[in-house]
């Protein structure tokens, strides 16, 4: 049933006027989701670029950032434990994971390539930022937006997943 609904939704081409005339609300919803996906993808790409420009890969910037953050947090909070016992000891691989992961998520969302996985990756980062001491209410919104791209076939509405899913219909990467 869900596959049928997804198939019907993915058959709507949001850039065709005929789609707007026959399915106005659905087309409008698709356009809104796609617009959000592109903005969200750019958001992640620029976040990754900031990491690269900030020297995340080859300096101890992440460790310094977190060490500066710890005194601002309640000493008995989970965030402090998470930072001191997990992130700081492993700051080198985690710095690489963050910088390259944000770039991968951003590019995936922007191009509609492995879109659901890119969104899941983005959500993974958001959750980790939140539990790693950088929680604020904006992460709720960003997390909800990421979930939107996980549950909808937005890469098949417009993106590389559309062609790749047609070519590899059994693949879990382009659903």
């Amino acid at each position: 049933m869900n596959d049928i609904a997804a198939s019907q939704a993915s058959s709507v081409d949001p850039l065709r006027w005929a789609s707007f005339r026959t399915h106005p609300m659905r087309s409008l919803g698709i356009v809104l989701v796609l617009f959000n996906r592109w903005v969200f993808g750019l958001f992640y790409i620029f976040a990754a670029i900031n990491k690269f420009r900030g020297g995340y890969l080859f300096t101890d910037k992440l460790r310094a950032t977190l060490q500066a953050r710890v005194p601002e947090l309640p000493p008995d909070s989970f965030a402090v434990t998470y930072i001191e016992s997990f992130i700081i000891p492993l700051y080198v691989p985690i710095s690489w994971l963050i910088a390259w992961g944000e770039l991968a998520a951003g590019v995936g969302l922007l191009l509609g390539l492995c879109t659901r996985w890119a969104a899941a990756f983005a959500l993974f980062f958001i959750v980790n930022f939140a539990i790693g001491g950088f929680y604020d209410a904006s992460l709720i919104v960003l997390g909800a937006i990421a979930v939107l791209f996980i549950v909808t076939p937005s890469g098949r509405w417009m993106g590389l997943d559309r062609r790749l899913h047609a070519r590899y219909p059994g693949s879990i990467w382009f659903r």
Partner: protein, 168 residues
């Protein structure tokens, strides 16, 4: 039976886009040396959205002013959500002022702190000033200035416990 043409051109376009992003990211890498951080600034810019900050401003000996304690409040729930828009604006205008709620305390007769006023404070990394209705603070050296730009004292960050303690 016709088969669907492989989407090599799209994949190639995606790869070119990816490589372009990588080059753009790599080019102007910053030096790792950290410059001294301006007063109330965080690693990535302004004071973090969930942080409260306190500044104790003490007058110079020649000033007739009393000390003041400034409480710069964290952003509200909706203010924190609004930072998404602020972040997007930063893509086009890298430095923009951040405005927050401010409580100003003055010494009371019983030697403690009493609320003098509530106002808005602007944190600005471009001008390196913390601007509030009664004056401004230089974010480089903590210099406390009145509305006539006269330096009347110096401000330093303190912990929140100061607000419930004795005033100087």
């Amino acid at each position: 039976m016709p088969t669907q043409a492989p989407s090599y051109s799209l994949v190639r376009a995606a790869l070119i886009g990816l490589v372009s992003c990588l080059f753009a990211a790599m080019l102007p890498a910053q030096a790792s040396d950290e410059a001294p951080r301006p007063l109330l600034a965080a690693t990535y810019g302004e004071l973090c959205t969930t942080c409260d900050a306190y500044l104790l401003c003490e007058p110079t000996t020649s000033s007739a002013m009393d000390a003041r304690l400034l409480h710069v409040h964290k952003h509200t729930f909706w203010g924190q959500i609004g930072t998404i828009w602020t972040w997007l604006r930063h893509l086009f205008q890298p430095v923009r002022p951040d405005t927050r709620h401010l409580t100003v305390y003055q010494p009371s007769d019983d030697g403690r702190w009493a609320v003098e006023s509530e106002a808005r404070v602007t944190l600005d990394l471009r001008t390196l000033r913390i601007q509030f209705p009664a004056g401004w603070i230089d974010r480089n050296d903590g210099g406390w200035h009145d509305l006539l730009d006269q330096r009347i004292g110096v401000c330093r960050p303190v912990g929140p416990e100061v607000s419930s303690g004795e005033s100087p």
